[in-house]
């Protein structure tokens, strides 16, 4: 990737991280850890990869993104706001009673959200249906879904993986955010879903690894899965809480909001102070 472009994306990702912390801090609740681990991925998707238009969010030919790990809504909302779907200022209404920015994505009320999600595993099947529909209609749009690594413990993920392969959904890409932590602790200790690569290969998928915090690596991974005629999965190796010193690799920040003091530290870490 061109160095200038890379710098631009890095700056965009920084702003998206600031939006995540602002949203969670304003709400005094939410899920910063997993949102920060996918902040670079969301940046790459919304500012490089997805064929979408914030002025025409319902375009039937747009690429689709299903945030199957819906609790990372702060990440999605921040990316959508910075991409121009709604005012960045509205991120501060996150989780407020009258806000359109619900705790988990609500497609009926939030522009740019392609599917309501939050109950883990369900977004994977929906992404399959969207991809199947594109094939039926001979349309060119692609479908992406973002899964948590803990989410792959849900049986429905594997029902959907079987379906995608059976119906040759080459226009479908999943990204598994392998940050290694789930609410109760390290995934390896709670209920080890590893090895992801062997499992997806056994289900007929093309598997690619990526460094979740390196745009060159993400670009290469996306180019490779899109070129393949099988459904593709990118296993992105990420750091939960990436970018905020005290949140990194700390499971306590899966679903907790910073206090005023911690908020200031986070803003310093993100270059806002």
């Amino acid at each position: 990737m061109d160095e200038t472009r890379k710098r631009e994306l890095e700056e965009q990702a920084r702003k998206i991280r600031v939006g995540i912390i602002d949203a969670v801090y304003s709400a005094s609740s939410g899920h910063p850890g997993g949102s920060l681990s996918i902040a670079d991925l969301l940046t790459y998707l919304y500012f490089e990869k997805l064929r979408v238009d914030p002025k025409n969010p319902d375009d039937p030919d747009r690429d689709r993104l299903v945030l199957s790990k819906g609790h990372c809504a702060p990440g999605l909302y921040s990316a959508l706001a910075h991409r121009g779907y709604f005012p960045v200022e509205d991120l501060k209404t996150f989780r407020k009673t009258t806000s359109y920015l619900q705790g988990h994505p609500d497609m009926k009320h939030t522009p740019g959200v392609d599917m309501s999600s939050g109950s883990l595993g369900q977004g994977t099947s929906v992404s399959c249906g969207m991809a199947l529909s594109a094939k039926l209609d001979g349309k060119k749009y692609r479908v992406y879904a973002i899964l948590g690594d803990g989410e792959t413990e849900e049986g429905q993920v594997w029902e959907a993986a079987m379906f995608a392969s059976h119906y040759h959904l080459s226009n479908l890409t999943w990204i598994v955010d392998l940050n290694g932590l789930q609410i109760d602790g390290p995934i390896a200790e709670v209920m080890n879903p590893a090895p992801h690569e062997d499992k997806f290969r056994a289900f007929g998928w093309h598997v690619v690894h990526a460094d979740a915090h390196d745009f060159d690596s993400l670009e290469k991974a996306f180019a490779e899965v899109v070129a393949d005629d099988r459904p593709g999965v990118i296993i992105q190796h990420s750091v939960k809480g990436k970018g905020v010193s005290f949140m990194e690799n700390n499971v306590a920040w899966h679903g907790a909001a910073p206090n005023a003091e911690q908020y200031e530290v986070a803003m310093r870490d993100l270059g806002e102070r």
């Binding site: 609500d106 599917m115 309501s116 369900q122 992404s127 039926l136 429905q156």
Partner: protein, 312 residues
């Protein structure tokens, strides 16, 4: 026209009929196409039929994805699995975003017969009623089943269609006008109103004859749309007859009986007795025997009707 047909059979035929009209109609099944009768559609439109295998939860989600991209998907399985196993998928992926997904649930209730309790879903109406915005239709005969499929296609939003395994007679002719949310008075009466749904319409009509022989005048109302329930007709018939018996092949908890009681408590309270599966699991046996065994037959309804009248 045969004089009897199972509503599941009418469902499969209707899918194939309207598949020719609506290019965006697609059908999903979970390895039960021969039983749910979606196989009739599969034969007519193999390119728009998708077997999802024995994975109902995924099937519901796939239907959602199809609905969000311009298709009208019908997802079929037995009621036990479509509404039971996949309840949370239907609640969160279909109901919450109000997706245009139609669930064609067959083999509802105890008339599944010999397969027994694990496959006899008597809880689906109760489960589906709790989902905001869900329409629930339980057709009484082949004519109504066909029209219900058509209405579901034309309606934008989630619909749960409940079909039976056992053949039932026709109560309606070609002139019948089905409308979502409208109950139909099949026979008038003045002493008691028998409000029935699905296969129980036949039993209610039988009870009406038994009661007539004893000089009791019973009306029979087919409440095929259970949600939204026809409050106007339910209240009007309660007012006219002064006593009500609800008849359903479903648990007495949360189904038609509950919907009628809730409606009348808020509109025109009269004595209501409920005929249904009385908070027990089903069991194996021939369908007709089970109808009597569980007290869902015409004689049981007639007895309940007299008891309801006595409460006036």
């Amino acid at each position: 026209m045969a004089d009897k047909i199972a509503t599941r059979e009418a469902y499969g035929k209707a899918l194939a009929e309207f598949g020719a009209v609506y290019d965006n109609l697609v059908v999903l099944d979970a390895d039960l196409a021969a039983a749910t009768k979606t196989g009739i559609f599969k034969k007519a439109f193999p390119d728009r039929f998708f077997d999802c295998g024995i994975a109902e939860n995924n099937m519901i989600g796939v239907a959602v994805g199809l609905s969000l991209t311009g298709k009208i998907p019908f997802a079929s399985s037995f009621a036990m699995f479509a509404a039971g196993r996949s309840f949370e998928q239907v609640r969160n992926s279909v109901g919450y975003p109000h997706c245009n997904v139609k669930i064609g649930a067959t083999h509802a209730g105890i008339t599944v017969g010999e397969d027994g309790a694990t496959h006899q879903c008597c809880e689906d109406i109760a489960l589906m009623r709790t989902i905001p915005g869900m329409v629930i239709i339980n057709p009484a005969d082949g004519v109504e089943a066909r029209l219900a499929v058509k209405a579901a296609i034309e309606y934008r939003g989630p619909v749960y269609l409940r079909f039976g395994r056992m053949a039932v007679p026709y109560f309606y002719g070609d002139d019948y006008k089905f409308e979502i949310g409208k109950a139909s008075v099949l026979a008038d009466g003045s002493d008691v109103a028998l409000m029935a749904t699905g296969i129980e319409v036949e039993q209610a009509l039988g009870a009406r004859e038994l009661l007539a022989a004893e000089g009791v005048s019973a009306a029979v109302v087919n409440v095929s749309t259970i949600k939204p329930i026809d409050r106007e007709t339910v209240a009007a018939m309660a007012k006219k007859c002064g006593a009500v018996v609800t008849c359903e092949e479903h648990t007495v908890i949360g189904g038609l009986g509950a919907a009628v009681c809730e409606t009348l408590a808020e509109t025109y309270p009269v004595p209501v007795l409920r005929v249904g599966v009385d908070d027990v699991f089903g069991r194996s046996g021939p369908a007709k025997e089970l109808i009597s065994y569980f007290g869902l037959d015409a004689a049981s309804i007639a007895a309940k009707a007299k008891a309801a009248i006595a409460l006036k």
